[in-house]
Amino acid sequence: MSRAVTRRRRQRALRIAVLGVVGVFLAYPLYALFEFSIRFPLTGAYSVDAWTRLFGAGDGARLQPLYTGLVNSLLIAVLTLSLMFALLLPTMVWVRLRLPRLNRVVEFLCLLPLTLPAIVLVVGLVPVYRFIATRLLDTHAVWLSFAYVVLVLPFAYRALDAGLSAIDVRTLVAAARSLGASWPTVVARVLLPNLRGAVASAAFISIAVVLGEFTIARMLARENLQTGVMLVNQAAPQVAAAVSLLTLLFGIALLVGLSYITNRAHRRPRRRDS
């Protein structure tokens, strides 16, 4: 018995050690970023000047690219998510219902963007965006969403695929339809409630990708959060570091929230509502 206890204790210690190493590995760059934002590199003097400039007034003009970029990125995120869900959910459900043999093809198409470096993607996107800017819409950064939908496709596909595989879509849809549910009702009251975790994962991971995207926006000369950070970095590097830190923390919060939600989604049906 005591041997079991020692073993358990040793495992616990090992687990803490591993967690500690990983934690330091992930946290140290964040800490370094934070230190850079509060310590003036030339003199080594500490000040929270960058943070007050970021949140306080005064330096508005110089920080303008940052604000523009942030607003743009948020708009892009909203539009990207809407387009992604509108495109992906009905397609994936339909394929499962009617064309199961096409499942492989859809998966391949959705995962394809993973294999293309952003810089290669840009080469193809330049003429497309020239057309969008001159003929179709305008040069507003929000239209980057079209490109970003492609970027988030692999991640969103994976998340939704896992969710759809966990339920018997064909039978649930057939049951709902035969009980008198219209298609909108099927989606709203049968599919979405059972895909809550998957939809949240897809959304969070897509937001994280959109907020972190730099290459395409830069190459197409559109302003988003990351290009804003870069511009401000030249003029006020410490403020840029503060913003980067905030973005990273926001991304981490999203991912932690994601794992929390998916865990809860798995547990929920077992809980008793007495």
Binding site: T171, A174, A176, R177, S178, L179, G180, R268, P269, R270
Partner: protein, 354 residues
């Protein structure tokens, strides 16, 4: 079966449906009387599920018509048909409790919120789950889930109830219990019902009439007893129950089998040599020493499978014909391996194939 007021008739007219080169329904015709329970039997892939899905509107037919209560609903979408289906796989909505599942069905049928509680209670009681309102599907056994699915289907008060092998995932004991319950409830409510199954025992026990399908067509549809005793062709005779194939000669509407002249069923040749399909319970097997009058044919016992209430006795006749007979357990003394026995046949009508 007395027609229930409000029950509707179902007519399937020359339904065709193919998937690529596979013809799932090949001019299927089927009539179901108001309040009747018809069971469809057939080998895997013969189109039973497809027939059910076309009737429910989940699948479109390539051609043909579906009529319910005299109305042509061939092109009506499933949510506008008054039907409810219970599936082979578990079909409860996982995010809703047992009561929530039924409530969902009621809301789709626009039942007053105030009346729903009573209907839910009634139907959960009907399937014996009155105390399981707040269980989620994952907290119910397979049998209980199918009961809730049945309650959900019945609560929506469908004109036609469709059951696609609802019992096949359950173990034998629950299956028999639930099938009797489904039949009891169906008779009580008088809902026109189409029941698909693999299990001939289930079909024969529950249905007013049983249809046997093969390759997208209905081979025969009759009351269970007729189907068993008066099959119209060899496929049906072989598919339902077991049969002995005994060579005989047909003459003037009778066939000579094991020394007896048996009347032949319609569909048999009228003259000449043929093979009579004789049910095992129509053969009697007795130890040769006891047979005083020596009627019957002599053979040797090859194998005996004891099955509780009866035994299946395999006998080889002197002309090498292999036979099997059902013998009541109390009559199996003296039927050991290698014993010499006499085999005799009842004078019941049989089907003869050429």
């Amino acid at each position: 079966m007395t027609p229930t007021p409000g029950a509707v008739a179902v007519e399937l007219r020359a339904l065709r449906r193919s998937f690529g080169s596979v013809v799932a329904l090949d001019d299927l015709d089927l009539d179901i009387a108001p309040g009747e329970l018809v069971a469809l039997l057939g080998p895997s892939g013969c189109g039973k599920t497809t027939a059910l899905r076309v009737l429910s509107g989940l699948e479109e037919a390539d051609s043909g018509q579906v009529l319910v209560g005299g109305r042509d609903i061939t092109h009506v979408p499933p949510n506008k048909r008054s039907m409810a289906m219970v599936f082979q796989s578990y079909s409860l909505f996982p995010h809703l409790t047992a009561a929530g599942n039924i409530d969902f069905a009621l809301s789709l049928r626009r039942v007053d919120r105030a009346r729903r509680r009573g209907i839910i209670d009634h139907h959960l009681d009907l399937v014996g789950l009155g105390s399981h309102h707040d269980r989620f599907p994952t907290e119910l056994s397979g049998g209980q889930q199918q009961r809730v699915a049945l309650a959900r289907a019945l609560a929506s008060n469908p004109e036609v109830l469709l059951l696609d092998e609802p019992l096949s995932a359950l173990d034998a004991q629950v299956r028999v219990q639930l099938r009797d319950e489904i039949r009891r409830i169906q008779l009580e409510l008088g809902t026109t019902t189409l029941f698909v199954t693999h299990d001939q025992g289930e079909a024969l026990a529950m249905a007013d009439r049983v249809g046997v399908m093969r390759a997208g067509r209905l081979e025969q549809i009759s009351a269970p007893r007729d189907l068993y005793e008066r099959p119209v062709n060899e496929f049906v005779a072989q598919f339902i129950g077991s049969t002995n194939r005994i060579h005989g000669r047909v003459s003037a509407g009778h066939v000579r089998v094991l020394g007896e002249w048996l009347p032949v069923l319609p569909g048999s040749p009228t003259e000449g040599a043929g093979v009579a399909l004789v049910r095992p319970e129509r053969l009697s097997v007795t130890p040769a020493v006891h047979a005083a009058d020596e009627r019957g044919f002599e053979g040797t016992v090859r194998q005996v499978s004891f099955l509780g209430d009866h035994a299946r006795v395999y006998v080889t006749l002197h002309d090498d014909t292999e036979l099997q007979a059902f013998v009541h357990s109390r009559d199996t003394h003296g039927l050991g391996l290698g014993e010499r026995v006499l085999v005799a046949v009842d004078k019941a009508p049989v089907l003869v194939t050429a």
